[in-house]
Amino acid sequence: MDNINILFQAPELILQLVIDGLLVGSLFALAAYGMALVWGVMNIINVVQGEWVVLGGFIALTVANQGVHVMLGIPAAAIVLFALGYVLYKLIIFRIVDRDLFTSLLATFGLSILFQQLMNQIFGADVRTLDSGLSTWFALGGMVTVSQIKVVAFVIAGIIAVALTLFMRNSRMGQAIRATAQDARAARILGIDTDRVYAFTYGLNAAICGAAGALVVMALTIHPYQGLIYTVRSFTIVVIAGLGNLAGVIASAFGLGVAEQFAGFTLGAEYQNAFVFLVLVVILVYRSFMLARQRKYLK
């Protein structure tokens, strides 16, 4: 807790934490947007979300090790994960999409264990990062440092978000996805192949996560067992923002990113994950409390 005093003595550090939080938060926003997409369209809570972020990172790492430019890892991860998501839908997810949430939760939980352990076997259990070759900006006499790769990641995340919004608004597939989200049966009656929409949505979500993961491996670090925390983050953000609310997702992702940076600084980095979970519990308690107020008739 001594670190709190440091914050008061050196207000530049607050600026530093806010900047870092916002830059990292943009990556959380991508994963959370994907989760909201699948949740809203298919009514599946995709527990394997975080594993795909990590897998995207590993794919970018593998691609970069082949000697091509590091930034090519981003489309590579997105393409590979789109294919993976599509195949997984055709193999497994289509069987559970009409079943209850209990089943889909368990099934995606199993997938999450599967991918987490597969990555551990294939890529090893080390903490990995990808050197982007970019340097760091210094401001305010070296008190505030901004690593350029985080800024690049922020910009790319923004571009992806804009592209997604335009895609959802204008393309045929985007319109079909939105129609299916509103009412799958009505969409089917009107001639939309909802099975194809589901497959595409699931693949798109994986692709978004993959791109986010490729940015994560450059801006931060990845580890095979790290996926769960991204799942919890995405879920927290979606619960705060609500489904189908892109502005809300971005705002709460930034909020979570900044809050995490402050928690990591004041409590120590080893408690940062515990903090993420704590935020989720607090949000759930708040929701539970608000619901309980509407349940007064039971007492």
Partner: protein, 361 residues
């Protein structure tokens, strides 16, 4: 399917049924002396049955995925170990020494410490369940499921950073004193057996009564259950607390059997015990009294026999198994048997007991 499960357990126990239980008890009591080499593995079998049944209260009978039961397991483990040491020595100094040598306990101290430790493990587990339960169980299943997903991880991180309980380097449980009843593994075998028996008959009784009907109603249609005047939150928290009670004691016992508590790999071991309990319950057939028992036996025996041949891919297989069972075999072994041979209804206990005997040998 769901109503049938309830009726089956609610039927009055026949004479044959009790004869079956008696047979299991005799086999279980004789087993450690007939096969002294497998005492520890058999102890773990009972533990597996306990944690699988505890998961099934929530996951099977009530339809609430709990990915966080490992929290109670770890809390119970640490509570027991800390009390075993802490009642007589300074825990910080003990953990600093990185071993139990020089901190010998007398016979009486050991039993008293273990007894109090296990009792407090149960109490603290229940407390955790009540606190987190009231926090999260007012909401519907998916919020609870994701909420619990982080619980075990967060607890593991905190335990790994807490110096008092040994932080990341873990904690050793006290040495088993000389001159105690039987050997260490025999002693813990019978404790595990007693715990499994207590768990089984508690759940058997509970499922046969009002409580069982209530939690099944919550699974089948929570809105209707609530509209009928059922205080669902109270039932949900109670169910989780009962699971926490037994899981906590199981954790305390496992800590002592293993002898070394690692915060992430033994206590809050989400990727082993945490996943196993889910897998065992759904493998055997969730929502049935005997389901998790059969699942635990099948899984544990398979694991002991064949797991080593997988050469490090065990955990991958675990994830794959969960997916396959959930998607293609959602009723589990007992559900499959019941669908195939509904006329066996009255003999279901015998099916279970036969498999149990096979496992005990």
């Amino acid at each position: 399917m769901t109503a049938a499960a309830g009726e089956e357990t609610r039927r009055p126990a026949g004479l044959g049924r009790w004869a079956g239980f008696l047979l299991i008890a005799v086999v279980a009591i004789l087993a450690p002396f007939v096969f002294p080499a497998f005492q520890t593995q058999m102890s773990f079998l009972w533990i597996m049955i306990v944690i699988a049944m505890c998961w099934d209260v929530m996951g099977g009978q009530m339809g609430y995925n709990s990915f966080g039961n490992i929290l109670f397991f770890g809390v119970g483990m640490y509570t027991t170990a800390v009390l075993q040491v802490g009642l007589f020595y300074d825990v910080a100094a003990y953990n600093q020494a990185q071993g139990a040598a020089g901190f010998d306990l007398t016979l009486l101290q050991y039993y008293a410490g273990l007894g109090i430790g296990l009792a407090m493990a149960a109490v603290l587990g229940v407390l955790c369940a009540i606190v987190f339960g009231y926090a999260m169980l007012g909401l519907r299943g998916h919020y609870f499921a994701i909420g619990t997903l982080g619980l075990g991880i967060a607890a593991g991180e905190i335990a790994a950073g807490w110096d008092y309980i040994g932080a990341g380097s873990g904690m050793v449980t006290p040495l088993y004193p000389d001159g105690a009843f039987g050997s260490r593994s025999e002693f813990f075998y019978f404790l595990c057996f007693a715990l499994a028996a207590a768990t089984f008959f508690t759940f058997r009784r509970l499922y046969a009564g009002r409580f069982g009907i209530a939690i099944n109603a919550i699974r089948d249609d929570e809105d209707k259950a609530e509209a009928m005047g059922l205080h669902t939150v109270r039932y949900k928290v109670t169910a989780w607390s009962i699971a926490a009670f037994f899981t906590g004691i199981a954790g305390g016992l496992v800590g002592n059997i293993v002898g070394f508590i690692d915060p992430r790999d033994v206590a809050f071991a989400g990727v082993t015990y945490g996943v196993w309990m889910v897998l065992m319950a759904i493998l055997g057939g969730k929502g049935m009294l005997w389901g998790p028992v059969v699942g635990a036996i099948v899984f544990h025996v398979t694991q002991e026999l064949f797991w080593t041949y997988l050469l490090g891919w065990q955990r991958v297989a675990l994830g794959l198994l969960i997916v396959l069972i959930v998607v293609f075999f959602p009723r589990g072994i007992m559900g499959f048997v019941r669908d195939k041979f509904p006329e066996w209804f009255g003999h279901k206990v015998d099916t279970g007991s036969r498999q149990q005997q096979e496992a005990g040998q």
